[in-house]
């Protein structure tokens, strides 16, 4: 009896010391990661900050060396951008982005559904085929695409971009949607089947509400990729179907860089994506971490 009584206080004093040690270690660990996080964040954010700051400078100020952090901000660059015919480019970008994203979702959803919930023998091969299309550098495909578009009289046509963006995003969308569908418990489908729901009702009433965050995340990724796409746009459009990234390049002219104007135009071009990302932030985080934790 006495030995037990003696042993207990010893253990009690020993334990807190152990916990403090562990906790201190954990705290210093999280501090390290915090610093790493901030450093990486700043490295990523700095060019954006630079761009936004420059957009409020005059061209002369934009060229100063060393750069001025303190300056009197001006909106003149934005005025210049908006008066230099930005809107048709925005309209083209918006059309290509929205239509291609809708097409991608309409095609990827049933495809991913089949590949995840009704797999067949060669499902893995099909999935590999999809992703393999992303392994070829786009530049390697541009000549056949250009020739095909030329012969079909589809050069400088916005629908060509819609088709290309749909094709470009479809593999990623199928892979993403598939991972979301895989998270849907099989029992739910069986329960719906037992409840007498036909496939269409099962998809609409049971599955889609569950994968909605994933759908939103996929849509956003497709939007970002399409909105920012430059290579196809610059090669197969000219005046009619050119998009915002092509417009931006116009500021790099033979007479030299219009730094401040370019910065203002780039800021304007970034805004829709930032806004969409900010609105969809919660959905996006949920969507992108959907498969990670249950």
């Amino acid at each position: 009896m006495t030995s037990a009584d003696v042993a207990v206080p010893a253990a009690q004093t020993a334990e807190p010391a152990l916990y403090t040690g562990k906790r201190a270690k954990r705290r210093s660990n999280s501090l390290t990661w915090g610093i790493v996080g901030w450093v990486v964040g700043i490295i990523f954010f700095f060019p954006v900050l630079w761009m936004v700051l420059t957009s409020f400078k005059t061209e002369a100020e934009a060229y100063t060396n060393t750069p001025h952090i303190v300056f009197s901000p001006t909106l003149s660059q934005y005025k210049a951008v908006f008066s230099s015919g930005l809107w048709p480019y925005v309209a083209n970008s918006a059309f290509a982005t929205i239509v291609s994203t809708i097409l991608v979702l309409v095609l990827a959803t049933p495809c991913a559904f089949a590949l995840s919930l009704r797999p067949v023998k060669k499902t893995r091969d099909v999935l590999f085929f999809f992703i393999s299309t992303k392994m070829l550098p786009v530049v390697a495909a541009i000549i056949p695409i250009y020739i095909a578009a030329r012969d079909l009289h589809l050069l400088d046509n916005i629908f060509t971009l819609v088709i290309l963006y749909t094709a470009m995003n479809l593999p990623i969308a199928v892979w993403m949607m598939r991972s979301f569908f895989l998270e849907v418990p099989g029992e739910l489908l069986e329960a719906a089947e037992m409840d007498g729901a036909p496939l269409r009702r099962t998809v609409v009433e049971v599955i889609l509400p569950i994968v909605a965050p994933g759908l939103a995340a996929t849509a956003l990724i497709c939007c970002i990729f399409s909105w920012n796409e430059f290579f196809f746009a610059v090669n197969i459009t000219a005046t009619q179907a050119a998009t915002v990234p092509v417009f931006l390049v116009g500021f790099i002219s033979s007479e030299g860089l219009y730094f401040a104007q370019l910065a203002a135009a780039a800021t304007v071009a970034t805004l829709p994506v930032v806004l969409a990302g900010w609105i969809a932030q919660r959905q996006l985080v949920r969507g992108l971490s959907f498969g990670a934790i249950k």
């Binding site: 069986e190 089947e193 037992m194 409840d195 729901a197």
Partner: protein, 358 residues
């Protein structure tokens, strides 16, 4: 309400070495509560899913009210299923979950609401009808899953280990609720569990399965009193039945050094089976100074009302024996004498494992 008949029903998973369910014959009467029980991998869940239409019937047939179900899709079988993890629709409220099947049947909104409310009342779920499943406790979710089945007024209920996600206390109370509800609704029910206590307490009849084969289909008392083979004998009853290797002699059965004497009728029936497995339940062995068997006590489990003595036969250290005793029990390490109630002996052929005699 319906009769359900498994007639040589077989299910073979692609690439499997043996059928998951092998030629299962099970006549289930109208309104009966049948429990399928067995260790994991015995095919009980597959058998249930075959009835529900979620697994193919590769051979034989399953009939509901005489109608062959081979090739009939789940939705046309009029069967409601309660899943192990409940499978509630997470985006729907409790009320919508329960009414979904009725909606699919095209029943109008008012009638749906009425029937959902009725079932909710029965299951004490009225105040939760507008909540989402994620805001419910495990027990409440379980009741919603039951409610979803009840609302449909189906011909057959299929239940796949519906209590296995509940804590021990809730499991016991829900067990009686389900059994009582089934008696009241009088809907033919097939219930799958690995828990033999659930099987014994809930079922009108119990089907014991092992490796895809039906071992015995009988009432709980029959299973307990007359197990058809060594597997059933060891599976049903807690603690398990004591089993010893015995040799048939002229005047009794020899267990190591000891000789036990069954009734002359039983001895007569055992003729021809020289090597036997002798089964005796713990409650039919008693501590007694004039006992036939000498037992070395290894462990005593005191349950309050009575106790179980775990040990081995003194002359066979590898054997196991469990003896039910009162509160006044020996201590571990002691060597005691126990007597066997020979009117409750179970004899099995050592080769086939089948029961010998009546």
């Amino acid at each position: 309400m319906a009769e359900v008949t498994y007639d040589g029903a077989t299910c073979i998973y692609p690439g499997a070495e043996r059928p998951a369910v092998n030629a299962l014959n099970l006549p289930i009467e109208d309104g009966e509560f049948v429990v399928m029980v067995g260790p994991s991998g015995c095919g009980k869940t597959t058998a249930l899913r075959m009835l529900a239409g979620l697994e193919e019937i590769d051979d034989g047939s399953i009939r509901i009210d005489g109608k062959d179900m081979v090739g009939v899709p789940s939705r046309d079988r009029d069967i409601a299923m309660v899943f192990q993890n409940y499978a509630l629709y997470p985006s729907k409220t409790v009320g919508e979950n329960m009414g979904f099947a009725l909606k699919m049947q095209g029943i109008d909104k008012d009638e749906r609401a009425r029937r959902v409310r009725e079932a909710a009342k029965l299951l004490d779920l009225e105040e939760f009808l507008d909540r989402k499943p994620r805001n419910l406790s495990g027990g409440q979710r379980q009741r919603v899953a039951m409610g979803r089945a009840i609302v449909r007024e189906p011909k057959v209920f299929c239940m796949d280990e519906p209590l296995s996600n509940l804590d021990a206390q809730l499991r016991v109370s829900t067990r009686t609720q389900i059994a009582e509800l089934q008696r009241r609704l009088h809907v033919t029910t097939v219930y799958v569990t690995h828990d033999q206590v659930e099987a014994m307490t809930m079922g009108d009849r119990v089907a014991v399965m092992r490796l895809g084969q039906l071992q015995q289909f009988a009432s709980p008392t029959d299973l307990y009193d007359r197990p058809a083979n060594v597997f059933v004998a060891s599976f049903i009853g807690s603690p398990a039945m004591n089993r010893f290797d015995g040799t048939l002699t002229e005047d009794g059965i020899r267990l190591g050094q000891a000789l036990i004497r069954p009734s002359s009728k039983q001895l007569q029936e055992a003729r021809g089976h020289d090597q036997l497995v002798v089964g005796i339940r713990p409650e039919h062995v008693a501590v007694s100074v004039s006992g036939d068997l000498t037992v070395k006590v290894a462990l005593v489990e005191d349950l309050g009302s009575d106790s179980y003595i775990y040990g081995s036969l003194a002359d066979e250290p590898d054997s196991n024996i469990i003896v039910r005793s009162g509160r006044d029990h020996p201590r571990p390490g002691e060597v005691i004498k126990v007597s066997v109630d020979t009117s409750h002996l179970h004899l099995f052929d050592a080769g086939t494992g089948e029961r010998v005699g009546d």
